[in-house]
């Protein structure tokens, strides 16, 4: 029994390695950032960083769910943009109207995700190109809603969601935590969630084992839509407005992939956790923050960011040098 107990710890570590690495990376970079920030480790600085990072964290979680099934969602950023535009119409007015608005926005995101899922599962299309296509559709809808930037949001609510609780804890972090607890934890522990992992790891075997393959994929895509919608809602809280921004939609999609990889989620599917993806997102965002604390010529900043990103992802591959059986390269 003792042997099993020590084995448990080893296996737990093996499975959580990616997440731990992302967390470590984030803590290291954030420490570097805060310790060089003129204002230091103050609630304001943390709040600013967390407001910016949670947005990406939501999209990264969305991406993570899909990536676990060995799919990919190149429309995640556009769902965010669409929900932002929608929220800038709906999340205003009386508390009741605002509440209804939020529900409608979340449902819209869920709907986008479900559309992706349906097309990919029942149309049997390759996710990468199907979501390129749906992202054009979502962007078109966003443009219909907001041909020019504008709209508004219930500002009290928005402030509440982007402020600090008790003057210290950023509300956005609390919401992020809540979303992890309410969406990710049940999902990952449910039979459907396990099926999602199984599908990502070996779809055929999952089917042969009588797992709900289609339902798992569908749930992953649908929840991804929902999470992106939460991101879109947050964008609205953060900016008080809606904008059909093509470039920023695409940027979020690509960043979410980077975040997911930094977070130890395998793009081949079947491995990783949304918690890792969240840390990946936080770490990725901190790369941008580092620009404040180091005095770089403005024109060298993009290069600096690229190089830091490259270093961050290269750290993860140090292990390859220790591989003694070359076949392990191919897992």
């Amino acid at each position: 029994m003792n042997k099993h107990a020590s084995g448990d710890r080893r296996f737990w570590y093996a499975q959580q390695k990616g997440t731990l690495f992302a967390a470590l990376l984030f803590v290291a970079m954030f420490a570097l950032y805060v310790s060089n920030h003129p204002a230091g480790f103050t609630p304001n600085v943390v709040q600013t960083a967390s407001n910016k990072a949670t947005l990406l964290a939501f999209v990264a979680m969305a991406q993570c769910l899909v990536v676990i099934t060995a799919g990919i969602d190149l429309s995640a950023g556009m769902v965010l943009v669409l929900c932002n535009c929608l929220a800038s119409w709906l999340v205003v007015g009386t508390p009741l109207q605002t509440g209804t608005g939020i529900v409608v926005v979340l449902l819209a995101g869920l709907g986008c995700g479900m559309l992706n899922g349906l097309i990919i599962i029942f149309g049997r299309l390759q996710p990468i190109v199907a979501t390129i296509a749906t992202s054009a559709i979502f962007y078109g809808l966003a443009l219909l809603l907001r041909p020019t930037p504008g709209g508004s949001v219930n500002e009290d609510l928005a402030d509440a969601f982007t402020s600090k609780l008790f003057g210290i804890v950023p509300a956005s972090l609390v919401v992020l935590l809540a979303v992890i607890v309410v969406i990710w934890v049940p999902f990952s522990r449910s039979a459907i969630g396990r099926a999602a992992y199984a599908v990502g790891s070996a779809e055929n075997a999952a089917y042969m084992s009588a797992m709900p393959v289609k339902r798992a994929k569908f749930t992953a895509y649908a929840l991804a839509g929902l999470l992106s919608a939460i991101g879109g809602l947050y964008l609205t809280f953060f900016s008080y407005t809606g904008e059909a921004a093509f470039a920023s939609g695409n940027a979020y999609t690509l960043y979410s992939i980077a975040a997911v990889v930094l977070g130890g989620v395998s793009l081949a599917g079947g491995k990783g956790s949304a918690v890792g993806a969240v840390f990946g997102a936080l770490a990725f965002r901190t790369i941008g923050d580092l620009l404040f604390v180091f005095d770089f010529d403005p024109l060298w900043q993009p290069l600096f960011q690229g190089v830091v990103l490259m270093l961050a992802i290269s750290i993860g591959c140090i292990g390859i040098a220790r591989v003694r059986n070359r076949l392990e390269w191919f897992q």
Binding site: F11, R189, R194, S201, S209, M211, V323
Partner: protein, 512 residues
């Protein structure tokens, strides 16, 4: 004694894949409390039959009756619900999930809608114990387990579903003798409990040991069903292959004179998995590697083939020490080594690619000039190999995935033969291969050896080691513990050495 009514019955089942007929008008009746063996050579349609039973594929024609009522399965889940559970030949485990996750996969225990990990753990431990594999840690990832352990997990997984009818499609093909014993004990217990069992295997002695009833398939038809023990092995084999059959193993040649070894290992070690491996092999020799599964036999082959890094010790080929850093080095020019890998699905074949492309992939240098493939030369080489190995494929431009398991295995062997290797490493090459084909492979190996190849042959099947090999190295815990030669190569010695039972021969230990 009256036989119980059949639990499950299939009548007039046919299945075509495109033009290929996999099953034609097949019948079978399965009774509870009995083990029903299904026999047939590669491509006879056995796997197809049970895939239909398990709801994986739908039959084109025919009907299925469960408890006398007609039934059809839309999916594996439906078959599961009806109590039919299958251990597939092509494993159906999820590599990235843990053993426990896999065992409860189709029906995990829930608490508040979430998976109850503690109970899952208990179920898994129980099932593993029932399958006689409690050495497997329930939290280990399946992908980290060797093939034989995976097969045990697969069996435990089937058991955890509490089936009424359990099907094992070559479920023991990668198991070692001791595992097989455990599985058999378990199967007999299940039979006594009244479960219906279908058992598919190419190992005749296993069938003799287990089966109550047998059905023989040939070319997609159910040829005959009979109670076990009413036919001799000879008769059964002839039923299966539809022709006469004699003596499995080719005769071993008399000892040759001293030739220079083509390959020598001096004190080869790798981490804690291999230590102090020393042996020689001469052209024309077939050396068997035996022992319990997982004693470093696979690592030894991989180390020789240049796959492992930081291998200590010396490999000498033709008298010259060499350092091999990749399979490419190993197969190239002067060395000309080949490795028939253990898992054909992940290491041997590119399943979706055509037979042609798979066959020439290891010998591209041979059929190309300046990187351009000479299709005519390629075709010629392939024709030769098809003849040599009698590969059954409609055309060489069909995907290898559409071949039956045995024919896939032949393709794996053939692709390396195209390179005319001088040193051939075989990692359990007859896994899942029917008797007829096995015999062809034994003949082939001997033929290659006679033509001057040196063959190192790891097998989990003692009969093979005994029948085929000139010498057998028995491994235990990463070292060669015994070397058997001549008459010493018998089941008694092999098992004794494998279990490292100190005996009269302890002094003969080769490894330090």
């Amino acid at each position: 004694m009256t036989l119980p009514e059949p639990l499950f019955r299939m009548e007039g089942i046919s299945k075509r894949y495109g033009g290929a007929v996999a099953l034609k008008d097949a019948d079978i009746a399965i009774r509870p409390g009995a083990i029903h063996a299904v026999l047939g050579e590669n491509g006879a349609g056995k796997s197809t039959l049970i895939k239909i039973m398990a709801g994986v594929v739908a039959p084109d024609e025919g009907r299925m009756l469960l408890d006398g009522k007609e039934i059809a399965f839309a999916s594996p889940a439906a078959a599961n619900a009806a109590g039919i559970v299958c251990v597939f030949q092509e494993l159906s485990l999820i590599p990235d999930l843990s053993v426990a996750d896999n065992i409860v996969i189709s029906n995990p225990p829930l608490k508040f809608g979430m998976i109850d990990r503690r109970r899952q753990r208990r179920i898994a431990e129980e099932a593993l114990a029932r399958a006689g594999a409690s050495d497997i840690h329930p939290s280990a990832l399946v992908k980290d387990l060797p093939l034989s352990r995976r097969q045990m997990v697969e069996i435990a997984k089937a058991l955890a579903r509490k089936p009424r009818l359990m099907i094992l499609d070559e479920a023991t093909s990668a198991l070692t003798q001791s595992d097989v014993e455990k599985v058999f004990t378990m199967l007999k217990r299940l039979r006594a409990e009244g479960m219906a069992l279908i058992y598919i295997s190419h190992r005749m002695h296993e069938i003799a040991q287990l089966a109550d009833e047998c059905t023989v398939f040939r070319n997609g038809r159910s040829i005959e069903s009979y109670p076990a023990g009413t036919k001799t092995d000879q008769q059964v084999v002839e039923l299966m292959i539809g022709r006469e059959y004699s003596n499995v193993f080719p005769p071993k040649p008399a000892h040759r004179g001293e030739v220079m070894p083509v390959l020598s290992c001096r004190d080869l070690s790798w981490g804690d998995r291999l230590s102090g491996i020393t042996f020689d092999i001469r052209p024309g020799e077939i050396i068997g590697v035996g022992g319990l599964d997982g004693q470093g036999q696979r690592e030894l082959l991989l180390a020789l083939f240049g796959v492992l890094r930081d291998v200590k010790g010396e490999v000498v080929i033709d008298g010259r020490p060499v350092t091999l850093k990749s399979p490419r080095d190993a197969k190239s020019g002067g060395i000309s080594m080949a490795l028939i890998p253990e898992d054909r699905k992940t290491e041997g074949l590119m399943l979706p690619m055509t037979v042609r492309e798979n066959l020439s992939i290891a010998a591209l240098d041979r059929v190309s000039r300046n990187g351009v493939i000479d299709r005519a030369a390629e075709r010629r080489e392939i024709d030769d190999l098809f003849k040599l190995l009698a590969i059954k494929a409609a055309t060489i431009d069909m995907p290898v995935a559409a071949l039956s398991g045995g024919n896939q295995q032949k393709v794996v062997i053939a692709k390396w033969l195209m390179n005319r290797p001088r040193i051939i490493l075989l990692n359990d090459p007859t896994r899942g291969i029917d008797v007829g084909t096995k015999q062809e492979i034994y003949l082939l190996l001997r033929k290659l050896a006679d033509a001057g190849a040196a063959i190192i042959f790891y097998s989990t099947d003692y009969d093979e080691l005994i029948g085929c090999c000139d010498r057998v190295l028995v491994m235990y815990d990463g070292s060669i513990i015994r070397q058997l030669e001549g008459a010493e190569i018998n089941e008694h010695e092999l098992i004794g050495a494998a279990l490292n039972i100190a005996g009269d021969h302890a002094a003969q230990r080769i490894a330090p």
